[in-house]
């Protein structure tokens, strides 16, 4: 399908590796614990945002991916907060922290539900975290797919840009469940910048699986 929109940058995080624009940028081998890896990425890229430590695993992953992605381009200089959209999807919703919350209420003798956990039992909280960090106020939606639906995502985001509901979109996939994790966040805009890669499902499929 033809499009006048472009993927200008992409950040992928999986298997202890960080890829920026499909080039390996950082590898972590000291531990198999995802959280250790996320914290080491946070330090390596000098992200300096103490709220990171309060986030659940899913939001931590989304946060580091979004920070690395948005270091490639100062989007707030060219786009107003109202015109920046965030459209993200995953498969497991917030089931990782959901399971944790459930464990705090199963036993009435040992009952300790916490608001700090409960707030993360919604997948779109990670969109909120990215929005707060970057002062982004535009369209935001969280979708749940069995597998990342690049055809739907590309056509929906193209239509948001084409109908001027947004001038740039932070888009992609952030999933974390039972120690399996993967993030692929990318920027879509209607001018040829950065990667200058056509924003189509085919191109997304290549860029997401080729790391």
């Amino acid at each position: 399908m033809s499009t006048k929109n472009y993927i200008s940058a992409i950040c992928s995080i999986k298997n202890g590796k960080v890829f920026v624009n499909n080039t390996l940028d950082y590898t972590f081998t000291e531990s198999n614990e995802p959280i250790d890896f996320f914290k080491s990425v946070y330090k390596h890229y000098q992200l300096n945002y103490p709220k990171f430590y309060k986030m659940d695993s899913l939001s931590k992953l989304a946060f580091i991916a979004s920070e690395i992605l948005l270091k490639t381009q100062a989007i707030s200089k060219e786009h107003t907060p109202e015109n920046i959209a965030i459209i993200i999807a995953n498969s497991a919703s917030s089931l990782e922290i959901d399971t944790e919350h459930q464990q705090t209420i199963n036993d009435k003798a040992n009952y300790f539900p916490s608001p700090a956990n409960f707030v993360y039992t919604l997948p779109n909280i990670l969109i909120g975290e990215i929005a707060i960090r970057n002062k982004i106020k535009g369209e935001n939606t969280f979708f749940i797919f069995d597998k990342f639906d690049t055809l739907f995502m590309s056509s929906y985001i193209n239509s948001l840009l084409n109908s001027k509901k947004a001038s740039i979109c932070v888009a992609g996939w952030v999933d974390f469940y039972e120690n399996h994790y993967e993030a692929n966040l990318y920027l879509v805009e209607n001018s040829e910048k950065g990667l200058k890669s056509k924003h189509t499902a085919e191109e997304l499929n290549k860029r997401i699986t080729n790391n």
Binding site: S93, I105, N124, I132, G138, F143, F145, F152, S163
Partner: protein, 385 residues
């Protein structure tokens, strides 16, 4: 391309059809009840809960298999009952897409006693949506929106966008459902957000939310021959926004909601003075209702009659935006403004025109708003043709 409402339904403690629900609201009947003890709360609590036996009885009438969870049954019943209203909609057609809106889906399956009763996959919202879809032999992969308490409004907006630009679909069935669980109740209680009385939206004495469960369906179509031309309602415009302020508290200024309202009105080619009714979010927490009042004032909508239905249905999370929109549609058809149950004295710093008495009014254009955790806001406009 215009997008019309072709049919709708609500499954709630106040009834299993849109009309039954609307009639109960007209007579100030609330679905929120007091539970001294319950399996969803360690302390006494008010909640709007559907009678399980009624769900079973109604579901048996469908003569279908019984491998469905409570939430799936509610969603399936809701779609069935919506389709009964409009037999021209072919749910088995490739031109019909289902959009599922839910915050927590089958989250009750995490409970130890239900854990092994169903395949673990059923905890995944995409699987829940597929199960609902296959029941109706719909050939398309359903879309799932899970965006906190604005999910329902976003799902409707999405349906509208897909139908106006994309000739691939003729009908989109937007179904939303969430259920009362210990999971959700304990979480809101840990936030100290649950009211010890039935919620009092926008009231000076409001002290928090009442939770509820419901399923709701709105069938959208771009096929003019699928609707009756005498009473057709269009989805005119919609938008979402983010406060970029706090993950669990609304913006103090209401700027995020204001942005969603402005964008929705702009897309609808309408001005503030064209709006005749606002179906607010009105959770009855101190901060949410105050935030809404500020946004409504900044949008110059403070004189427009407005209500919240949270004191009738409780907060039904992913279903809320849909069932509250269904009541808005019914209000437009009947030209009737529904009073906000339990509202006595306005308790926001800026004035809003909360409907305290159910009354007749000519309703041409109506606005539905929502806000939720994660700082998200959404607004959608319905208009009579």
């Amino acid at each position: 391309m215009n997008v019309f409402v072709a049919a709708d339904n609500i499954i709630s403690p106040l009834g299993f059809t849109s009309i039954e629900n609307f009639e109960n609201l007209k007579h100030l009947q609330t679905g929120v009840r007091f539970f001294e003890t319950s399996d969803f709360s360690v302390e006494p609590v008010h909640a709007a809960v559907i009678d399980n036996e009624k769900i079973e009885t109604e579901f048996k009438k469908l003569n279908t298999s019984n491998g469905y969870t409570k939430l799936e049954k509610m969603a399936i019943l809701s779609i069935h009952k919506a389709l009964e209203q409009n037999t021209t909609i072919d749910i088995k057609s490739e031109k019909t897409l289902i959009i599922f809106s839910s915050t927590k889906g089958n989250i009750d399956l995490l409970q130890p006693e239900l854990k092994n009763k169903y395949d673990k996959k059923r905890l995944f919202l995409w699987e829940t949506a597929k199960v609902i879809c296959s029941h109706f032999q719909n050939p398309n992969t359903p879309l799932v929106v899970s965006n906190a308490c604005i999910s329902g409004v976003i799902a409707l907006m999405l349906g509208k966008r897909l139908l106006e630009e994309n000739s691939k679909y003729e009908n989109i069935i937007v179904v939303g459902a969430d259920i009362i669980t210990h999971f959700v109740v304990s979480g809101f209680q840990s936030f100290k957000a649950v009211s010890t009385e039935i919620a009092k939206p926008y009231d000076a004495e409001r002290i928090g939310i009442s939770l509820g469960e419901a399923a709701g369906t709105i069938v959208l179509t771009n096929n003019v021959s699928a609707i009756s031309t005498t009473s057709s309602i269009l989805v005119k415009g919609g938008a979402s926004s983010n406060d970029a302020n706090h993950i669990s508290g609304p913006s103090r200024s209401g700027d995020g909601l204001l942005l969603a309202i402005e964008k929705a009105l702009e897309e609808s080619n309408l001005k503030a003075e064209d709006i005749h009714f606002i179906s607010g979010h009105g959770t009855a927490t101190l901060f949410n209702d105050e935030m809404e009042a500020l946004a409504i004032n900044d949008a110059h909508l403070q004189n427009v009659p407005m209500n919240s239905l949270k004191s009738y249905f409780g907060h039904t999370l992913g279903a809320a935006g849909i069932i509250e929109s269904v009541i808005t549609l019914e209000s437009m058809r009947k030209n009737t403004l529904i009073a906000t149950f339990n509202f006595k004295t306005l308790g926001t710093s800026k004035p809003v025109n909360i409907i305290s008495k159910t009354q007749e009014a000519n309703l041409q254009n109506c606005l539905k708003t929502a806000a939720g955790f994660g700082g998200c806001n959404a607004a959608i406009v319905f208009s009579k043709q």
